[in-house]
């Protein structure tokens, strides 16, 4: 342990800690902009400058290691002046359209400007407006607002995609794709980790809010929403509720106040996915099909495989994602049952994900989803409608798609799909008394492995979240080092609870808690309290098979609930 003092407060921290980490222990706040825990630590923004004994000049707290007896000052007039000037210099090249910015009131630069009394125009406004790239169906880039922190680049690099990078030098420097091509024409997988890493309004999702409002006021349209498992665990953050608060009831009630809307529970098609996927796995196992089988729920992972690992496309389950299954069910079964012309039904999915926006544009999926909006966009609509979210009494999902299993709900966290599948497999093959909880596949570790005896079969499984971890698993399978029957892959680190469409969390909070774990806990708590915890016992799924699909993997199921994949170019 190393002993030092921060603003006179003695602290003791492990050797190798940075001043920033030590300051956290002393409850001293040091501002940061380019630093983001687990993503980037380069010391380039110069906002975390502090005085430290033994150091010449001011040093960056995020990178400077502590030493025995060090005395650190974080709040001298010289430091405050330096920070103020730094913010003012950033503002001099920033498009200051704050009032109409997506990040207004939630912008890290705005917050710093306020805290350090920065003058907006001390150095004038010396910049040319740069073109906005909004060709991608998922992510919009407005480089006139970019502060060059390169957090997006670090996030993209961590995902092993590298679709964006810094280019040119000095005033000409920008962040973007090679030759200035649109993100839409790169091997970007649309995971949106760049968006949640961005401290300002330079990156945001391509909004579909206007389409949804349009449908709500259109008298010829019937509007239905369904919400993805993880949205209940994160939506509250946008309204100031603590991270990890389950707001399912409020969410449903608020959606219904947006207009004449029916709101369904997407966990049901998570359950349906398990029925189809488990059947597919058993068929592959018994008939010598391609193994290991990979999950297919995550559109970021699917596009990743299409670009970077096309050899594994036959390994990906042919099941559509829960979003696309639900939309297909609504536009066929639900419309037929209720005498609705499918073109009059406007299907909105609420998802934690920017890649799902790309997914709805895929021709092979049949265009059953009319709009996919992120958790952030739903929050925006709720605010725009003037709904008092925090105090709204709980609402309930609409029939016939209200009740789902806890297995469906944990789809939102890494390992959840695997656990849901194992629950059903264990019950089907192992009979009564089969286990419900499979804790080995839980947690935020990047790669998790387990071996389960299900009935007479031993299943070797792996779970990976974050595409860097997915790559590790794929390389091990490719080289023959590892061998699995079933592998779950989620593009975002931690799974959907940490998706690219989730509420922005200030670096200050992100840097101080394990965001992924706290959000995931809300889903596991929800699951634990449920009576219905296995997908195959879901009565809504049962009805769907009885009334429409007949049985898993039937002809009709293949027509509506399964899909195909295509190799895509890397450059």
């Amino acid at each position: 342990m190393v002993n030092l003092k921060i603003n006179g407060i003695p602290v003791s921290v492990p050797e190798g800690s940075t001043i920033l980490q030590a300051a956290k222990v002393a409850n001293v706040r040091i501002p940061t902009l380019c630093y983001l825990k687990d993503v980037q630590c380069v010391g380039s923004c110069r906002l975390c400058l502090v005085e430290a004994t033994g150091a010449r000049g001011l040093v960056t707290a995020c990178t400077y290691p502590v030493s025995e007896g060090m005395e650190v000052r974080t709040n001298t007039p010289a430091i405050r002046k330096s920070r103020k000037t730094t913010v003012e210099l950033i503002l001099s090249t920033h498009k200051k359209k704050c009032l109409s910015c997506v990040r207004s009131m939630n912008c890290e630069l705005q917050k710093l400007a306020l805290e350090y009394n920065a003058e907006e125009d001390r150095f004038g406004t010396d910049h040319d407006l740069k073109p906005i790239d909004d060709l991608s169906p998922s992510v919009v880039r407005d480089n006139s607002k970019c502060v060059m922190c390169t957090r997006c680049v670090a996030a993209c690099t961590q995902q092993t995609i590298g679709a964006i990078g810094p280019q040119n030098r000095g005033y000409a420097k920008t962040i973007g794709s090679p030759y200035g091509v649109s993100l839409a024409h790169t091997p970007c997988v649309n995971c949106g980790q760049c968006v949640v890493a961005c401290p300002v309004g330079a990156l945001y999702e391509k909004s579909n809010v206007a389409d949804v409002w349009g449908a709500i006021v259109d008298p010829t349209k019937k509007v239905v929403f369904f919400t993805a498992p993880s949205v209940r665990a994160t939506l509250g953050e946008a309204f100031g509720l603590p991270v990890g608060t389950n707001v399912e009831g409020k969410m449903v009630a608020a959606i219904k106040q947006l207009g004449d809307i029916k709101c369904f529970n997407m966990d049901i098609t998570a359950d349906l996915t398990i029925m189809e996927e488990a059947t597919e796995l058993m068929q592959r196992l018994s008939s010598g099909g391609t193994l290991p089988m990979f999950t297919s729920c995550c559109p970021g992972w699917v596009k990743f495989a299409e670009h970077y690992y096309p050899e594994f496309l036959p390994n990906i389950s042919t099941c559509k994602s829960p979003q696309e299954m639900f939309s297909a069910v609504l536009k066929t079964y639900y419309c037929e049952k209720n005498g609705i012309d499918p073109k009059d039904l406007f299907v909105v999915s609420v998802i934690p994900c920017t890649a799902k926006k790309f997914e709805v544009t895929r021709d092979e999926l049949g265009h059953y989803t009319d709009a996919a909006i992120t958790t952030r966009e739903l929050a925006k609509m709720i605010k725009e409608a003037g709904i008092d979210f925090v105090n709204i009494p709980d609402g309930e999902f609409d029939t016939p798609f209200e009740e789902a299993s806890g297995a469906g709900a944990i789809f939102g966290a890494t390992g959840g799909v695997m656990e849901a599948a194992l629950r059903t497999a264990a019950a089907k093959l192992g009979g009564s008394g089969a286990p419900i909880e499979f804790k080995e596949v839980r947690g935020t570790a990047g790669v998790k492995e387990a071996e389960y005896k299900v009935g007479s079969t031993v299943l070797k499984v792996a779970v990976a979240s974050g595409l860097n971890n997915a790559r590790k698993v794929l390389e091990d399978i490719r080289s023959g080092k590892k061998n699995y029957a079933f592998v779950e892959i989620m593009a975002c680190p931690g799974g959907c609870i940490n998706g690219g469409g989730q509420p922005y969390v200030h670096d200050e909070i992100r840097n101080s808690i394990d965001l992924k774990a706290v959000r995931a806990q809300a889903l596991y708590d929800y699951d634990r309290e449920k009576k219905l915890r296995t997908s195959h016992e879901n009565p809504a799924v049962d009805t769907l098979y009885k009334e429409y699909f007949e049985k898993p993997s039937s002809h009709k199921a293949h027509e509506l609930l399964h899909t195909t994949y295509t190799k895509r170019e890397k450059y």
């Binding site: 679709a163 990078g165 810094p166 280019q167 090679p178 030759y179 450059y571």
Partner: protein, 162 residues
């Protein structure tokens, strides 16, 4: 993506692949490989950057970022005759910007570009250590000092012939 059609030869590509093979396992292989690629092709066309990215397993965005950061690397082909105008302090105060202007006007290209017939390319540089001769321009290694705007055309004519 590129402005000029790529016309690299098989021989050039083999040279590049050899170089990549040689550096592949080194940490920080990107810079030496890019240097060699620039030597082989005279510039870094997008096709070459893609090969480097693919074989070294680094994102194309990174290769492009490095290529656009260092003025030593060029995304444009270089001409048969390479003109470099010094914009260092001494040359600049002696009016080398005017020399550059005349060149750009005469050859109808901007600094950093190459004429469509491939004859001339113009670049700028910072101080060649001949401040006594300011303003200075260099064509194919030959230094022209104490220039006036009026002399530029005459010098260019010498090179236009071949």
């Amino acid at each position: 993506m590129a402005n000029n059609l790529f016309d690299g030869t098989r021989e050039q590509m083999n040279k590049l692949l050899d170089c990549i093979e040689q550096h592949k396992s080194d940490p920080g292989a990107l810079m030496p490989v890019m240097h060699e690629a620039q030597n082989i092709y005279g510039y870094l066309p997008s096709e070459v950057q893609t090969v480097i990215a693919d074989k070294l397993n680094v994102p194309l965005a990174e290769v492009y970022g490095v290529a656009t950061f260092y003025s030593q690397f060029s995304l444009q082909p270089k001409g048969k005759h390479q003109i470099s105008v010094c914009l260092g302090t001494a040359c600049y105060v002696k009016g080398s910007d005017k020399i550059l202007e005349v060149l750009e006007k005469e050859l109808k290209i901007k600094c950093g570009e190459c004429t469509p017939d491939g004859k001339f390319s113009i670049d700028s540089c910072r101080c060649v250590g001949a401040c006594g001769l300011a303003p200075v321009m260099i064509i194919d290694g030959e230094v022209y000092g104490k220039l006036t705007s009026g002399e530029v055309n005459g010098i260019l004519e010498k090179y236009m012939k071949d």
